[in-house]
Structures are given as C-alpha cells and as structure tokens.
C-alpha cells in the first residue's frame, strides 16, 4: 500500500482515483470543493492544500483542465513545490502543453523529485472501465515506478520518450481524432445531400481502408444524433489549441488542424461547445443547409 496524492477530481479524475484506491492504496486528495464522498467514505484523506497532499503522499497524480492549472497547483501559493523533495514522484496525467511540460519537468527535477507526463485517451468511458490509453514521457526508472499505478487505470500503457513526449503523443492523438471526425462528417454530409443513405455508406465503408474507430463510434453517433458528451467540443478545441501553439513554436505547418479549429470555433459560436465532438458534423450540416438525419 502506497500513499498516493490525487489532485483534480473531475469527470476523468474521480473514476481514475477510485481505481487507484480500489488497488489498495491510501489516497490524499485536494479539491476546490469537498472531495467526492465515495472516495472519503473509502478512506481518502482530504487535505487543505496541494502542499499538504505532497507532504503526506509519496506519489502525486494531477488530472487538471489545462496548462495554467497545473502550473498553479505546482508553483502557486500553497502549491506542491516546497514538498517536492527527493523520493517524491509527480505524475501529470492532464492534457497540457508539451513545451510547458518540458519546463515544468526541468523545474521539478531541479528540486530533486521525479516527474512524468502521462496524459490519457479513452474519455470518461475508459476512465470508468480502467481501460485508458496512457502515453508517458520521462525517465525509464520513473516509468517503472509508476507502472503499477498506471495498470490500475489503463490498458495500453507506453513510454513514448523523454519529458514532454507523452503530451506530444496526446496532441498527435487529438489531431488525428479531430481530423478523422471532420473526414467522416464531410463524407457523410456529401453522400446524404446527394440523396444517398449515409447509414448505408458508413456500413459499406467499415470494411475497407476508410475504416476507423471514429467511423464506427462517432459515425454512428452522427447518424443517431447522440451528441451528449462523451468528449466535449470545448475540450477538443483546447487540445487543438495546444497543437497549433506547438506548431508555432516548432515551425510545423498543420493546415488541416488549423482549418478544423475554425470549425470548432463555429461550434462555439453556435453555443454547441458542450456537445460531444462528433457533433462537429452539425457545423458541416449548417454549411450545406442539409441535415444527415
């Protein structure tokens, strides 16, 4: 049994923390509001600050919305910083900037602690089922230390490379997922406006080179109009923002990603940022003045 800190108990963090707890570990949690009763009832200790979490736990897991949240929880007032001594391991499972992650890792390791970036994909469903894909950046020794915890939360666990590599892989993942949703949207709206049943097109295409998890899962959501999240447009837009910010820093052209981001912007303009990302098809439907179903 280890003492594990967990900060960020939202839609994703809560079931992930519960898996760690059910794995036999003692949780030390901090949340802006009261921590979930399901965790405290099972023995999780509520701490008054991130600093207290890092004082009492050996390994601290973060699952926060965005880059500034992670920076502030580590280096802000009452942050983890002054408790990050040798022996402590900080695992950031949030999806944040790869560039900022390299800088955070540099500062945390300078304090003597270990750092891993370990963002996930698989959404709320994967978090609840403990089947997340976990993409890790950092030293092999830290990865080996964290692996038993990762195995409580996920199935497909890969050490991608050095600090920041996990976040870079996650950005790559989000690029592919967004652009594949756009691809399926363009194809199905095209077929439907041509008078062809998009459900039959989807079924025929699933056997060949056009097949993907997105055509399977999100294509079906588009046809059945199941747009309750799932993974929200607003969050995917944040992730494409990380891609485009990284593209600026690195000198990489991402024309399809940039254009897709404009369509996400159109979804925000239509006040549909809270819908599942498969609802991107609605932006195309409006452009074509034609609904799939």
């Amino acid at each position: 049994m280890l003492d594990i800190g967990f900060i960020g108990l939202g839609v994703m963090g809560r079931p992930m923390a519960a898996h760690v707890q059910r794995g036999g570990h003692r949780l030390f949690v901090h949340a802006r509001r009261a921590p979930p009763a399901e965790l405290t009832a099972a023995g999780a200790v509520a701490c008054t600050s991130p600093h207290e979490v890092a004082e009492r736990a050996q390994t601290i897991i973060l699952m926060l919305p965005n880059t500034p949240d992670v920076q502030s929880v580590i280096f802000g007032p009452t942050g983890l910083e002054h408790a990050l001594k040798p022996g402590k391991l900080l695992i950031d499972m949030s999806s944040i900037s790869p560039g900022a992650t390299r800088e955070l890792a540099r500062r945390v390791t300078a304090l003597g602690a270990e750092y891993l970036d370990a963002p996930v994909s698989g959404g709320e469903t994967g978090a609840k089922a403990g089947t997340l894909t976990i993409m890790v950046g950092g030293p092999e020794t830290s990865f080996a230390r964290a692996r038993p915890l990762f195995e409580l939360m996920g199935k497909n666990i890969t050490l991608i490379g050095d600090h920041g590599a996990g976040q870079t892989a996650k950005v790559a993942n989000q690029i592919i997922v967004a652009l594949t949703i756009a691809a399926v949207s363009e194809a199905l709206v095209f077929a439907s406006k041509a008078g062809v049943d998009p459900a039959k097109v989807r079924a025929a295409l699933l056997g060949g080179f056009a097949s993907s998890r997105i055509l399977e899962v999100h294509g079906e959501r588009m046809l059945k109009r199941q747009f309750s999240p799932g993974f929200r447009i607003a969050l995917h837009r944040k992730d494409l923002g990380l891609a485009l910010e990284g593209a600026n820093e690195l000198g990489v052209a991402l024309p399809q990603t940039a254009q897709c981001q404009q369509l996400f912007n159109a979804m925000m303009a239509a006040d549909e940022g809270g819908l599942d990302h498969s609802a991107l098809v609605r932006a195309y439907e409006r452009l074509a003045a034609h609904a799939l179903a």
Copy 2:
C-alpha cells in the same frame, strides 16, 4: 456459364477479369492494345470494338480510368450503345462522377438495358485477392443478377441505393481515406519535429480512438518510406476532383477535402504523383523542413 464482356484491362481490370474467367464464365474483351495473353490463353475472345463486346456478351463490365472514358466506350463511335438492348446488363465498376453516372444510367435504361454503378475499393491487392469492397447503385433486380459476378471479385458487397449511389459511396470513401492520410501525416510530422519517435506515437495511438486502417497501413508506409504504389497520388487527386465537382453541383462545403486537394497538387508539382498516396506525408515534411525518417 455466362458470356461476360470486360472492357478496361489495366492494373485493376486484369485481375478482376481473371477472377470472372476462373469462375467459369466466357470472357469477351476489348482493349486498345492486344488483350493480356493470360486471358486469351484461357479462352477470352478478343473483340474489335466495344460494340462487338456488347453484341456477344449478356453482361458487360467496365473498369476504365475516368468519366470521359466510360462515356466514350458507351456512346462514342463503335461504342456499346446500339447493342444495349433489353436483356443486357451494363456494370460500370470504374470510379467516375456520380452526377454523370445518373445521366448515363438514364440513357442506358432508356435503351432497354439494365445499368449498375459498382465502383470498388481495396486497390490492386484487393483486386488480385478477390477481396474488393464493392459499392453498388441501381435496382435490386439488377443487383441480384450481378451478385454472383461480384462475389467472384469482392467480399464486402453492398447495394447502397439507386443509380449513382455506388459512385457517391466511393467518393465518400476517397474523402475519408485522403483526409485520414492527411491527419496521420500532420500528427506524425508534428511529433517527429518535437523530437519524439513517430513510430512509438503510432504504436501507442493504435489502441485508441485515433486508430484506423490508415494509421496502421499507411502510417507504417510513411515510417518505412515505402512509397511505391499501392494507390497513386494522381488517381486519388482525380477522385477528390470528383468530390469537389460534386460539392459544387450539390451545394455542399468540403473545406478539408478542398485543402487536401491543394496538398495533392503540391505533390504533383514535386513530380510525385506516381507515388503511393501515403507519400502525402512528404508534402508536410517539405512544409516543416523536417523528414520523419
């Protein structure tokens, strides 16, 4: 044993015709050059014109490069036209314009013959293995008549809808395939320029929502620099041309497809239209001044 006409004995048509022949049918073929010896040695009858093919065969299959070729073989001098009497079935397995197909079907059925559009996906590999995906448009009775022939050439055979629906599904397929190749290219070039091993990113992403046949097959081709076709950029550019032409006719906006076509144009400009479509990653590599491998 049926008498089957086959016109268009190129990279795709030749193995498809051979499967029909091995299925026990007698072939009547016409080609601008001498027909393949493998077919004539096995009993295929070389005809001097498309018209003669349609005179002698009950069912005529076309597998031609583009819309004007199909129009000319049917309605040009020495074309099929005057032999297309009741009882004849014309199956166009080429990938051509859905709009032009509806007009061709109207004219052919006005002559009393039956018409099916039945484009395929799966490429040369699928044609040789007899595992093509076949997307069919036309009446159910004609589909039922053609099905035993389709089963000699393909595995995943779907009646999508009325005349033109097969071609529309094929265009939808080509949209998704092209845009997924672009998606994988952007993601892998982004990761690689960030200093992360793109092979590890691809492997990690194959387990999750970013997974697709394209990430699996074409992603590997990108990493191994296996750009011999496969399916040529120049042909995929023709197919996206059909998509964009259809978008103009129908009033549908395909922004990602339009932008991807510009990248295919860049490949043509670099004299790389003869490479496999996975080589689209090279356009991105040039934009980023950075090669994956």
